[in-house]
Structure formats: C-alpha cells, structure tokens
Amino acid sequence: MQRSNTYILVFTAIMTIIIGGVLSLASQLLGPAQKKSIELDTKSQILSAVMDIDKKKDDVLGIYDKRIHSFVVDAQGNVVETDEKGNKIIPENVNVLKYSKKPCSERLLPVFMLMNEQDANKVDAYIFPMYGNGLWNKIYGYIALEADMNTIKGVSFGHVQETPGLGARIATKEIQDRFKGKKIFEGDELVSVVMLKGEKKDPSLFGPHEVDGMSGATLTGKGLNAMIKDYLECYKPFLLKTKNQQAAL
C-alpha cells in the first residue's frame, strides 16, 4: 500500500526519537562502567611495564593509587600542570596517540613514577607511554626505566587492534622480557635500543643496546624501534635532568 508523505515523515520521526532515546539511555547507564573499564585498562598497562599483574585477580586500582605518582612534562623537561585553556591536566587522560603526530615541542609527555613499596619518597622506576606505527596499525607501549634513567626495567607493548600478522607477538611476555636490562644511554648520548632483524633466541649474542628480533615480523620491529627512539628523544631533556639531579645528590 502506498502511504502518504505525512505518514512517512511521522513514522520516521517517531522511529528516530525511539532509537535516539534507547541509545542515549544505554549510553547513560553504561557510561560509568565504561569509564571504569577504560581506567582499569590504562592503569594495568602502565603497571604491567614494571610488574606482573593480572587485571582480573589483582587490585590494579589499589596498587596504582599506592605506588604510582604521575605528572606531565614538556619537551624541555619542565613539569606542565595546565593546558593552554588553563584546565588542569590529568596525566592518565592525556591522549598520547593524538600528540604522537605532532613534533616533540608540541607534545604533552606524561611520566609515571613507581614509588618504592617501603620508602614512599624513593622512586623505583619511571614509566613513559608511547605510540607509533606498526606494520598494519598503530602500536603503543610503556617503557619503564630504572631510577638511573638508563637501564630498562621492563616494557609493555600492544597493538591498537587485532593485527593480522606475526607482529602481534610484541604483546607477549616472551618478547617483552627481551628488553629487560638493556641500556638506552652511552654517557650523555642517547642511543636507544634496537630490535634486530632475525631471531636467534640466544641472549648472550646481543649488546646492551640490542634486542633479539621476531622472525617474520621485521617491519613491526622497525616500527617499534622508530617509536622508542622518537619518544626517548622527546623525553631526553627530562631524562638528563633527572639523571644529573640524582648524580648531584
């Protein structure tokens, strides 16, 4: 049957209102739970760079509140507290992906400090978030440096989306453990760490700035190297500053 235009208009209007209503309601109801799961996810990733943590079993938020102290620095290594509009910056909420496209000087660079369990004034590690390009999609990571600002304490990497390929291995503990104990500085010169081509599976073959590669995923490794180098360069002033302060103490 052919309907009149008025009928069609009224029908579509009612449908739009119902659909809009249902969706708004759902988004309102689920909003808090979503915020919480995103927060939990970010914080457990930050923590997983420095400790083994299971999101389902451990009290991630509790440990995070107790151990992590966070702030944001700029490319000169100075602490920034407010953004250009004068709002207070929350380090956990800084959109690292968005800033990763800009040059260092325009980035906000969050720093997460892991405090010692006994001595709350002693820093165990500094954790830096980063974003870069993998083979298929964005990759991200957190690199944790020991208090000497030179030795890698641990890393945690991931890919933004299910990656159809071998590069997905960067998210596994096996690969991430290979970074432990590597150095990023040679004196005051930043050399970063580099994942090599090919896979030898023998840790003794590699120097302090080299990491065993992933077979079949050389390009993801390259992306990883570029990302680490890029971000360490951005953080370099902060790294040197902190390093020298510690040397002066």
Partner: protein, 203 residues
C-alpha cells in the same frame, strides 16, 4: 609525502579485501565479468572517497567528546559517540542516494554504467569500514580523504583482477563441490599471497 605514502599503503598493503576482508560480499558476487567489476569498482572509489571525509567532519564537529564547542562552549562535556554507527550509516545511505541523483541528472552515460551498483554500495562493508578505521586511526581530514580514495582503488584493483581470473576459469575443469564460491576463496587466498609482496614498500 606522508599522504602519498598513505595512499600507496591503502591501495596495496592495507588492501580492503586482502588484509581486512571488507566488501567481500560484493567482491564475490559481482566478480564474474570484468566489465561489471570495473563498474562496481569505480562506484566504490567514488563513494568511499566521498564518505570518508564527510564522516570525518561529522565525527569531528558533532560526535566527538567536546566536538560541539563550536556552537557553545557549554557543550564541552557532551559526547555523542554512541550515535556513531547510526550517523555513519545514515550519512553513507544519504550520500549514495545523493550521488545517484546527481549522476543521473548530469551524466546519464556514467549513470548507465554505475547506476545499478550504487544502491548495492550502501551496504558494502568496505564503505562503513573505511569510516570506522579512519576514526580508529585518528586521521586528519586530508588523510581521511586520501585513505578513502586509496582504499576504494585497492578494492577496485582486487575485484577487477579477480574477475579477469574468473573469466578464464570458466574453461577449467573444477571439482563440483569447489565450483563457484569454493575455488574463488582459494584464488583470493593466492592473490593475497601475491599482494603480500607489497609489504614494506615505504615512499
């Protein structure tokens, strides 16, 4: 330079078909003849190249958290992202409709070639996929446009190549159970291996 690189990537490396399986339905259904494959491919390039930047604007100025501040600063906390799917698909459907009308009015010859494919395209996964990927990867407007057009060309390349193979395949003796869809899947897999050789090309 970045843009050219992105274009090349989205045509050859991040190919909609071989890397993400998007638009498979029409890829398999409309690849029996080269001439129709070219028609559908052209329509996809056209629509994808148009919807990606338009949806980018929608995402940036309507949907994103704080996107409505251009109306009034008071809207800073409003986040309409939960309407993303519905907005995107509505815009795609609207653009397809619009393109169809414009093409019909001004270039009847092109309409004759593209016409029948346009309605098919609204529900082609690669179109919506293009918009969703663009948001997920945080592209800029220019990047979104290049990515859209590039992905469309990647799709066209794939479907025309497959159609050419299938035209030849008519003369082959394929086992009964493999005829049609089965052998096409296997061929697509083999073509995917060929496309792998583009990996690593960076301009």
């Amino acid at each position: 330079m970045e843009l050219i690189n992105l274009g090349i990537r989205s045509i050859f490396i991040d190919n909609m078909i071989f890397a993400y399986f998007l638009g498979m339905c029409s890829f398999l259904a409309v690849s029996k003849k080269v001439s129709t494959a070219i028609g559908l491919g052209a329509a996809v390039v056209f629509v994808l190249g148009l919807t990606a930047p338009v949806n980018w604007l929608v995402q940036e100025y309507i949907l994103k958290e704080g996107a409505l501040t251009w109306i009034s600063p008071a809207f800073e906390t409003i986040n309409l992202e939960f309407l993303q799917f519905i907005m995107f698909i509505a815009i795609i459907a609207a653009i397809v409709q619009l393109v169809e009308m414009v093409v019909e009015k001004f270039t009847p010859a092109l309409y004759g070639a593209l016409g029948i494919f346009l309605p098919l395209i609204a529900v082609n996964c690669s179109i919506l996929g293009g918009s969703l990927f663009m948001v997920q990867r945080d592209y800029t407007l220019a990047e979104a446009a290049v990515f859209g057009a590039g992905s469309g060309m990647g799709f066209m390349l794939a479907i025309v190549a497959l159609a050419a193979i299938r035209e030849k395949l008519k003369y082959s003796n394929v086992p009964d159970g493999l005829k049609g869809l089965g052998i096409t899947m296997l061929i697509t897999g083999l073509m995917g291996i060929a496309f792998k050789s583009f990996i690593g090309i960076v301009l």
